[in-house]
Symmetry: C2
Subunit: 213 residues, 2 copies
């Protein structure tokens, strides 16, 4: 299963690259603020970059609806009982979205800090999100999600005063798991870190395009 | 796999029942506050009931260590890549804990609102936890966890003033998924709802013992 998924993911990645597109896979626990982060990122990007969103959930198309309100096209994958998105889900979603050349495809995976880490969906950048309300020791407890990520994003930093979260200890834990993993602190509510996050995504896109052109 | 797991779970349940014990399976997202809830429940129970705890995590024995500080015996199952506890994990853990007759066995499952719902571990009461920081629509998005639970516990109610969480809308969503599912609002930080939660667990234990004696 993993082998077949990997082959399909490679084909998706290559197809997107040829069209100048770039796919980001966003992973994190239920309720860590992935959708809200996406909504605010899209608002900040405005018309600057052509974007499309793929939403993964077990049930409901609530998230795709929230995204569409920003004016960006979104496709909702409902996985039923499946705890992660697969490359096949993405292939199906891409058929339904009319992706223009040079589009940034943002994928919100099923809320789960475990299973989605095992499945390549054809992305070129994988972001793992962790909200300050989840507690400092989560990287230690879910190491695979961090090891397999290209960027760690701390969300809901506005709530830090109300919870026991030690940002420095968390950063240290992450660096023990993957020393070179970049680390960004954000709040979709007060906007902090969002501009930097967009810059990082765009820089990764540019680097990938240069490396493979 | 599910069939074999179910048979083993039934055997565990029956064995615990014969010894007057009762097992509770606590499910919820990473960082929804399951461990903290357990720590405060154990403090409140004090010596009143003999307790033992089984902790499930992919990695680290942080949680078992936290529990042992309360004076209660705890066994840590490290699942590696597995996203849920199985009946076999519990069988193994029970061999390592010396369970006295009439012990309340509290199991904290791997932080995951999806996969643990599919696996009976031999519990007689299943609790699904949802923290107010995760957002109102989680029951709708993870219906199986709520459908398969015997009790829904809202955690971190002390943070409600700082986040957008609509308690009544959440309660309504849950009742649409499972109309008779009891619903308790708790905060491990300020202690609200904890006494009621213990009372419910003890009542369920008593009912089960009466029903099967």
């Amino acid at each position: 299963v993993l082998d077949r998924n990997k082959r399909m993911a490679d084909a998706i990645r290559e197809d997107l690259r040829r069209r100048g597109c770039f796919m980001v896979n966003i992973i994190g626990s239920p309720g860590c603020g992935k959708t809200r982060l996406l909504v605010e990122l899209l608002a900040l990007i405005g018309g600057g970059i052509s974007c499309a969103v793929i939403e993964g959930d077990l049930a409901t198309d609530n998230d795709a609806q929230r995204i569409r309100k920003t004016g960006v096209d979104a496709f909702q994958v409902m996985t039923g009982a499946a705890c992660h998105l697969s490359a096949r889900d993405i292939e199906h979603a891409l058929e339904h979205l009319s992706i223009q050349p040079k589009t940034l495809v943002l994928v919100e995976n099923v809320g789960n800090l475990v299973c989605p880490s095992m499945f390549d969906i054809g992305e070129s950048l994988r972001i793992v999100c962790l909200s300050v309300t989840e507690g400092t020791d989560k990287p230690q407890k879910y190491p695979v999600s961090f090891r397999e990520a290209d960027l760690a994003v701390i969300t809901k930093s506005d709530l830090a005063p109300y919870v026991d979260f030690d940002m420095e200890a968390c950063r240290e834990m992450i660096s023990r798991i993957k020393p070179d993993l970049p680390f960004l602190v954000t709040s979709a509510k007060d906007g902090s870190g969002l501009k930097e996050l967009i810059d990082r995504i765009v820089a990764a896109w540019r680097d990938k395009q240069v490396a493979t052109d």
